[in-house]
């Protein structure tokens, strides 16, 4: 039989007179899965078609736990009902499960522990886990080790189970991990240093005493914290005594280890065999799903000891289909590797499903593509949809031709109309019925903290819903941004750290975040680094930073980045074409561009490039100078301002972009006229043109011989002519003013005109600021 055996297990249980208890914290105390968790607690989210809580209970049952207390906070009634109906409630299951409701004021695991203390339910050593654990680690072995240790050392109050993984393991949270300092011999945890992904932690401070007392220590940054703690009975009371302990790790463990008074010890159990991980965030949801499908959790795999009720058959390439043969696969559909398909699902012709899980009764329409995604029960995916790297809740109806980009979360029951487009990391839930009067809010008090956010978002809906197809019953949640977030937010939950914890592509995504291994970062790079990073990451529309961020971004561009950019470019093109064709309002078009930019996280210059390019390319080539001029005017008048509206006015750059584009396009002869039109529309200023003209790059410096260089030079000459005109104009203006004001010195007049220019510039700056404000308004 398979190697993972539990030969000695029975004896162990027999030895122990006392009942092994376990406490499950069935609340996550954070909102990383919102909006999926809006109507459902996280522990009832299905992973591989079985609720997380069932996986947790199975892990405990595997360890011979006999009594389980489930601490529920939000949606407690749902959890209770789920427990009642599950197989665990049957007498033969061997588990006694007691759900415990805690007050809504229980806001942290620490509060829950205090609650446990007040309930007085713990009789001896107990296992503390979260309701999102997937594990096949021999917890009974940990308990044995813990008890043995307790016999000699009464102060060893807790054993933390950690799993060796490796720093960049997919299952290891990048946003929330820790450095453990262990005594090599006793596995005592000497120091605990929480590590958040962003801002990157570069230093771990190890107290000197640790080194004094322990000659042989291990400092480990490659461990997955499984969230399994074997605790002694004192642990809840310690929480009670220290009412400010909120988090078990960052407060309690840290507190106990640093306290001079408590004199308690905490140990680690490094699990070398077995698997354990927590579904802490959408990213680990993805990783753990993949681990289950590729059988790391054996025997907790769909075809074996699956906690759900359905028996699956394991097929080549780690595909899992229900044994009852209820799945209907069309002849031409493709089911890729590492895929789980729920009972009675249907996959139509030419559809592709790969590295995904489908719930029960799902339908995937013809030519649809579902990749790296997790679909709940009863999801209907229309023909030709593309769903990538997303989580789609139960009962979602995805209209034909919809694209759901990576990282999107779609809550239960949403209807997306045909042709909808969800941008990367979009979060969508079902639209709430319009409230008749605000007074009825009381009933929904639970979600009051969400409401403010939602209301804010509601303003945005009109613009955002343009991306949703007709008949959508969906509500797009506001995108989080680093700037908008409340400052008091938990360090762990800050925007950038949260980015590291969400589902989606891994590496290229964070190219903008400096996440180099802490060990390789020298301390000098500290602050300055961070601030500049901030600028590039956070959507900042000030003109200065957009340019400064360029080199950073450019430096970070990798091969993946290029692919991303081209994707972005094509999306911008489509968006603009739509806007041009359907004659959107300028503002709306600008908003759409901004969201695209935020979603793909590309520098502003790219957007500007794309806009200029589109505008120029849209101008038809017409015979005859006159009609051509009209044509240009028509386009530039109508859409030119978009260049300004996308934010960050930088005329020089605009001209450069225009030049570079014209030099490589059939619109080369139009360069002069377009530039003039830009000038007419105040898109660029005279000074911009001059500044551009002065740049060596404008002459084509640095370019290789070839048509491009020639064209650059041609355009530069055009520019030169224009400047020449400016100069002439100025002199003529002088002349005219001279004529008007009769007899004033030409120098003075020049000064005056300069003043005028300055005034104009000032005005412009103001305008810029206004723009910025507008944008901020939009965003919030």
């Amino acid at each position: 039989m398979a190697p993972k055996a539990a030969a000695g297990k029975e004896k162990l249980v027999d030895d122990d007179e006392e009942v092994l208890q376990a406490v499950i914290l069935a609340d996550s105390f954070n909102k990383r899965f919102k909006p999926l968790t809006a109507d459902k607690p996280r522990c009832l989210l299905p992973i591989c078609n079985a609720p997380l809580l069932d996986w947790t209970l199975e892990s405990l049952a595997l360890a011979g736990v006999q009594e389980v207390f489930v601490i529920c906070r939000s949606h407690a009634d749902q959890i209770k009902a789920a427990l009642q109906n599950s197989k665990w409630s049957r007498p033969a299951s061997g588990l006694k499960i007691v759900p415990i409701l805690t007050a809504r004021e229980t806001l942290s695991p620490g509060d829950a522990m205090r609650d446990i203390y007040t309930h007085g339910i713990i009789a001896g050593d107990f296992v503390l886990v979260y309701g999102d654990l997937v594990s096949n680690v021999r917890i009974d072995e940990v308990v044995r080790v813990h008890k043995a240790r307790r016999r000699t050392n009464k102060d060893a109050i807790m054993t933390i189970v950690v799993k060796e993984a490796g720093t960049t393991h997919r299952t290891r949270s990048r946003g929330e991990s820790a450095v453990f300092v262990l005594d090599r011999d006793t596995a005592e945890c000497l120091h605990y240093e929480p590590v958040s992904g962003y801002p990157p932690k570069t230093l771990a401070r190890i107290p000197r005493e640790v080194l004094d007392e322990h000659p042989d220590i291990e400092i480990r940054n490659d461990l997955i914290d499984c969230g399994i703690d074997v605790c002694s009975v004192e642990v809840p009371s310690l929480f009670q005594d220290n009412f400010d302990y909120a988090d078990i790790r960052r407060d309690f463990v840290h507190g106990v280890l640093t306290s001079d008074l408590l004199m308690k010890n905490i140990h680690c159990y490094v699990a070398r065999e077995g698997y354990a991980a927590r579904v802490q965030d959408t990213r680990s949801y993805d990783a753990i799903s993949k681990d289950i499908l590729s059988r790391w959790t054996f025997p907790l795999v769909p075809d074996d000891n699956h906690p759900g009720d359905v028996a699956y058959e394991h097929l080549r390439g780690n595909k899992y289909l229900p044994k009852d043969n209820s799945v209907v696969l069309s002849r031409t559909c493709k089911v890729g590797r590492n895929t789980l398909i729920g009972p009675a699902s249907q996959i139509f012709a030419d559809a592709q499903v790969a590295a995904s899980t489908l719930g029960a009764r799902c339908t995937v329409g013809a030519r649809a593509v579902v990749r790296d995604s997790y679909l709940g029960d009863d999801v209907v995916v229309g023909a030709g949809c593309v769903i990538e790297n997303s989580i789609v809740g139960a009962g979602v109806h995805v209209g034909a031709g919809t694209r759901i980009a990576r990282g999107a979360l779609v809550a239960d029951g949403v209807r997306l109309g045909a042709g909808s487009r969800l941008l990367p990391f979009e979060r969508v839930s079902r639209r709430r019925p319009v409230k008749e009067d605000g007074e009825e809010d009381g009933a929904e008090e639970e979600e009051s903290d969400d409401d403010s956010e939602i209301e804010e978002a509601e303003e945005n809906q009109t613009q955002l819903s343009s991306l949703l197809g007709p008949d959508s019953d969906a509500f797009v949640w506001p995108r989080k941004s680093g700037k908008g977030g409340n400052e008091d937010e938990d360090e762990l939950e800050n925007f950038n750290n949260a980015r590291l914890m969400r589902l989606g592509k891994f590496r290229d995504d964070f190219a903008d975040l400096d996440l180099s291994d802490p060990g390789s970062v020298t301390s000098s790079s500290g602050d300055s680094d961070e601030s500049s990073d901030d600028d590039s990451v956070i959507q900042n529309f000030s003109p200065s930073s957009s340019t400064t961020s360029l080199p950073f971004a450019a430096a970070a561009i990798s091969a993946g980045e290029h692919a991303k950019e081209s994707e972005f470019r094509s999306e911008v093109r489509q968006s603009l074409e739509r806007a041009f064709a359907e004659g959107h309002a300028l503002d709306n078009a600008a908003v759409e561009l901004k969201t695209l930019r935020m979603a793909s996280n590309v520098p502003l210059a790219r957007v500007r490039e794309a806009v200029v390019e589109r505008v120029v390319e849209s101008i038809a080539l017409v015979d005859g100078a006159g009609p051509q001029r009209v044509e240009i005017k028509r386009w530039v008048d109508r859409w030119g301002p978009l260049v300004r509206l996308i934010g960050g006015v930088d005329g020089v750059e605009t001209v450069s972009i225009l030049q570079a584009h014209c030099a490589g396009s059939s619109r080369l002869p139009l360069f002069g006229q377009i530039l003039a039109a830009f000038y007419q529309n105040d898109i660029v200023e005279e000074d911009d043109i001059r500044a551009w003209h002065a740049q060596p790059a404008a002459k084509g410096a640095g370019l290789k011989e070839g048509p491009q260089l020639e064209n650059m030079q041609k355009t530069w000459l055009v520019g030169a002519r224009m400047i020449h005109q400016f100069n002439e104009q100025e002199s003529s203006e002088e002349e005219s003013s001279e004529a008007e004001e009769s007899g004033e010195g030409s120098e003075e007049a020049e000064d005056a005109s300069e003043d005028e220019d300055e005034d104009k510039e000032d005005e412009e700056d103001e305008e810029d600021e206004d723009d910025e404000d507008d944008e901020d308004g939009d965003k919030e």
């Binding site: 039989m1 398979a2 190697p3 993972k4 055996a5 539990a6 030969a7 297990k9 049952a61 595997l62 049957r90 007498p91 033969a92 299951s93 061997g94 799993k163 060796e164 993984a165 490796g166 720093t167 960049t168 393991h169 997919r170 299952t171 290891r172 490659d222 065999e273 698997y275 590729s294 059988r295 790391w296 959790t297 054996f298 025997p299 075809d303 074996d304 000891n305 028996a311 058959e313 394991h314 097929l315 080549r316 390439g317 780690n318 590797r337 590492n338």
Partner: protein
Amino acid sequence: MAPESHSSGSQRAVETLAAKLRRRQVLGSRETALETVLVLRQVVSKARFTNIHQLVEIIRGVGRKLVEAQPKEHTVGNTVRKLLHHVREEYNNASKGTAASAANVFSISKFVLQGQPRKQVTAQKAESALVLREDDPDDPDSFARTLKPVLMEAIQVILDELETVYENISKSAKDHIHSDEIILTIGKSHTVETFLKSAAHYHNFTVIVAESGPSYGGHDMAQSLSSAGVSTFLVPDSSIYALMSRVNKVIIGAHAVLANGGMYAITGSLLAATAARAHSTPVVVCAGQFKLTPLWNLYHEYGALDFADPSSVLGFEEGDLVDKVDVVNPFYDYVRPDLVDVYITNDGDHPPPSIYRIIKESYDDEDNEL
């Protein structure tokens, strides 16, 4: 009288074993078979039934539950089938006196069915003097009361058979292995281990043990054999082919023997069997009768190879690789019937094509699907 009316105590025993099977806490074919018999004994002793159909239904129900819990451990189903066979046999023996053998109308289809393999009617046990009264309204327990002692006896027979299975297989060991032979085996199999040790009492021979990665059961096997005084070499699996030219016989164990004569055995067995075929080395498989499984086409089921977790092949800590590589770690190999020369069971030696016959003799067809 509903069939599920047997007491909650035996119900719990069933559930416990089912859970253990699901969680892979009972391992090894014989171990599993023994546990199954014990649970069945408990079930039968507590069961309340008034006729044979109820009894059969009760046993089947338990069997179904256990098989569902661990469909890859075939000995569970086999044991249940065996018991059912015995139950029917005992019942037929006992009821011969009372009821005239039911509806024995001769028809063409009956005639055709004469071809079915069946056990030669063995010398009747002392004609049982049981009087069975089925569905007796006055005394509903009478049937159970009369039949139970016989059933307990039958279960004891199965138990005894399981307990002595290794010895019985090893009885013929000395005839299969001769002095100065070189034997190749792979992995750790209790059956083969006992077999080789028993032969070692009579002959001096050499055993080459392939370690059978990634479970490396071969290490234990080599240890155990050499401590029993057998001259033993431990070799990596990759050298099996190279060594085969010097090997006289390949002796391996089986996980399940199928009706078509093929078998499931620890990974590497197919490698050894194929290498043996290339060198025309005989392949001898030692397997208890309880491993004979009335399935023909199990090899169609990809999952039947029982894919374990990849950690023994690629460490979980190799984080970067885990993302990019799909690791496949099957626990068993399917060895085609034409690669096996003979099966040595506790019921004699059989060539692969006769396996189906023994299976037909030891189980009833209607139980193939529990």
